[in-house]
């Protein structure tokens, strides 16, 4: 969080240390005391802090999620990031002045959906799932009053966020229910005589020959067999990098670029944030002359998963 603030982020999302947010890994999140402290440091630097409460409260257990919303209001977070309609209603009723951002986990992919959440709960900003092409994003922005935030850099979810149960199919825990995908506790690595095998709750996700790099075993990024052909049947281990599209994203009126940070080291966060800050400032100053600096490209390429990156769904061919 400190790295993001110091490197030029306008807003930082944080999560509490439990399953109320979609990055439910103890080391990544804050307890309430740390959240208060971080909030005041960020505010002192003029940076907004938003609390992610973007998993789905489980039946009979909504209390923990509601407490998180109450905490955000009490401590003075600038907004809460929500996915569950019931929780949005709670927030709008109890804390009408607390801003609601619609999480990507709410799977709102059209302006009809976003405008509906806006009418129902006064949603101020919506984060778009990584499914729309650039022209579809443009059409959506034109048809809504909500601010639109899109993913710029980080892991690439190939499935629509909030609509993927692959992880719970294999392990019992999913982003929607527990805030995790392919959880580390279900991962087993085994070195065989000529290959390194990785399994998720017993399911073989991939086998690496000597010399092949093995990344974190997210289940949709393994190699599988279809019709006797073995390949990355769902997605390669690669990252989303939309920096090249920045002038377009700014021109069509995207309000904010989201950079994945909570699953990353402070050094990573600092480097990526600095690059995007510079690029955004430069693009805002002179959009028609914007060009990618080699240093930006080099820094981002180095930080991508498997050193591979893609424009994802922004580029139609990816689909």
């Amino acid at each position: 969080m400190k790295a993001a603030v110091e490197s030029g982020a306008d807003c930082v999302y944080v999560g509490l240390r439990d399953d109320t947010n979609a990055r439910n890994f103890a080391a990544l999140n804050l307890d309430e005391a740390a959240a208060r402290k971080g909030l005041s440091c960020a505010h002192a630097a003029g940076v907004k802090v938003l609390l992610a409460i973007n998993t789905y409260p489980q039946p009979g257990g909504a209390e923990r999620w509601r407490r998180a919303v109450d905490f955000a209001a009490e401590v003075g977070f600038d907004a809460v990031l929500l996915a569950d309609a019931g929780l949005m209603r709670y927030c709008a009723d109890r804390h009408p002045s607390l801003q609601i951002h619609l999480s990507v986990q709410a799977s709102a992919t059209s302006y009809e959906a976003i405008n509906f959440y806006r009418r129902q709960f006064g949603v101020r900003r919506a984060v778009l799932p990584r499914v729309l092409s650039l022209s579809q994003v443009e059409n959506l922005v034109r048809n809504t009053e909500a601010e639109i935030e899109v993913f710029g850099f980080g892991s690439l979810c190939v499935m629509v966020e909030g609509r993927c149960a692959l992880s719970s199919y294999v392990t019992g825990d999913s982003p929607n229910t527990r805030g995790v995908c392919s959880p580390a506790k279900a991962v087993r690595w085994k070195q065989g005589p000529d290959a390194l095998e990785v399994r998720l709750n017993g399911v073989l996700l991939d086998r690496y020959a000597q010399g092949e790099t093995a990344g974190y075993p997210t289940l949709c990024k393994g190699r599988f067999s279809v019709n006797d052909e073995t390949y990355y049947a769902i997605e390669e281990p690669s990252s989303l990098n939309a920096l090249a599209l920045l002038p377009e994203l700014m021109r069509i009126g995207v309000a904010a670029i989201k950079i994945e940070g909570r699953q990353r080291s402070p050094a990573y966060v600092a480097e990526v944030t600095r690059v995007w800050r510079e690029a955004i400032d430069e693009c805002a100053r002179n959009p028609s002359r914007f060009s990618m600096r080699p240093r930006w490209t080099e820094v981002l390429a180095r930080l991508c998963e498997g050193q591979q990156h893609t424009l994802g769904a922004y580029h139609r061919r990816w689909k």
């Binding site: 789905y56 409260p57 489980q58 039946p59 009979g60 257990g61 909504a62 996915a83 569950d84 309609a85 019931g86 209603r89 709670y90 709410a106 799977s107 992919t109 059209s110 009809e112 959906a113 405008n115 509906f116 959440y117 990584r130 499914v131 729309l132 579809q136 059409n139 499935m159 629509v160 609509r163 993927c164 149960a165 692959l166 719970s168 199919y169 294999v170 392990t171 019992g172 999913s174 929607n176 229910t177 709750n201 399911v203 073989l204 996700l205 991939d206 086998r207 190699r223 599988f224 067999s225 279809v226 019709n227 073995t230 049947a233 997605e235 769904a313 139609r316 061919r317 990816w318 689909k319």
Partner: protein, 297 residues
């Protein structure tokens, strides 16, 4: 309990669809869901064709519901959705928030399995918007359902996905087109060749998933036949059977017999097993990983 035929999730030819629904018209199913839920490029039947089919099934005594597409991206897809929402004749199943937006306030829609209704507050909200029925997400198990059934708003029916490969995920990417190295916009409709989807196995040969265009399903068939008694006790009103390319009449007959209590769970299980070439799963129901299969004591 009633028996529902879910929307056909695969891409079948016009002839295959018409044959399938002719059989459904003669079957013991009470409710039939029609329409394209997965991909707007699939066009064996147009909107008017679906409406015609809906009227025929209604004449055959079925309750007909028109299902909306789960993942919307384009303006054209929104136009189709508006047409569906305004059809004026049949109930609509909402499968994303865009559909909710268009159906809210008009009483009597179905809140489909692809809406994220995981808790009692959201369930109450859906009912206030005008839902007459809801289908829980497939991840939701028995104990979670028990809590929600106790808090269920009055007059709201519950339908549970009870048989078929699990619809687990949607993507902007088409995995069938990717398999054939084709762009999605020029996919040559290769899904037509896979009436039960394209099987995906792990590198040690275990069936794992099923690629169905932009949808990813389980390889195993979710089978809640052994839980029919529990479903009834929980006050579930309808069991959804997801269309399969082969022996669908037999699957429906087994579930009808289970509902009427004329067959034992063991016999039902054996007869269902004989209709498929892959293993069953029911883990979600037991609060376990979805791929697992538990035999209840």
């Amino acid at each position: 309990m009633k028996l529902a035929v879910g929307p056909v999730l695969y891409y079948w030819s016009r002839e295959a669809l018409l044959d399938f629904y002719a059989e459904v018209a003669r079957s013991s199913a009470d409710v039939v869901y029609l329409g394209e839920v997965v991909c707007s490029r699939r066009h064996s039947l147009r909107f008017e064709d679906w409406l015609g089919l809906a009227r025929e099934l209604r004449s055959a005594g079925k309750e007909v519901v028109l299902s909306s597409q789960a993942l919307l991206e384009s303006e054209a897809e929104l136009r189709t959705l508006r047409q569906l929402a305004r059809n004026g004749e049949f109930t609509v199943e909402a499968n994303d928030a865009s559909a909710l937006a268009l159906l809210a306030g008009a009483p009597g829609f179905v809140a489909g399995p692809h809406l994220n209704v995981y808790n009692e507050t959201t369930l109450a909200w859906i009912a206030e918007l005008g839902a007459k029925r809801w289908v829980p997400p497939v991840e939701l198990g028995r104990e979670a359902l028990r809590v929600l059934q106790q808090k269920r708003p009055s007059g709201l029916e519950t339908e549970v996905f009870a048989y078929g490969r699990l619809p687990l995920a949607f993507s902007a990417r088409c995995f069938t087109a990717r398999h054939y190295d084709l762009p999605k916009d020029d996919c040559r409709f290769r899904c037509l060749e896979h009436s039960a989807g394209l099987p995906l196995a792990t590198r040690d040969g275990e069936p794992f998933l099923t690629l169905n265009g932009t949808q990813t399903q389980s390889a195993r068939v979710y089978d809640l036949s052994a839980a029919t008694g529990e479903l009834r006790e929980l006050g579930v009103d309808i069991l959804r059977i997801s269309p399969q390319a082969s022996r669908f009449d037999e699957i429906l007959s087994v579930f009808r017999a289970l509902i009427e209590g004329t067959i034992s769970a063991g016999d039902a299980c054996r007869r269902l097993e004989a209709t498929r070439s892959v293993a069953a799963c029911n883990g979600y129901w037991h609060g376990q990983p979805g791929m697992e299969y538990r035999i209840d004591a």
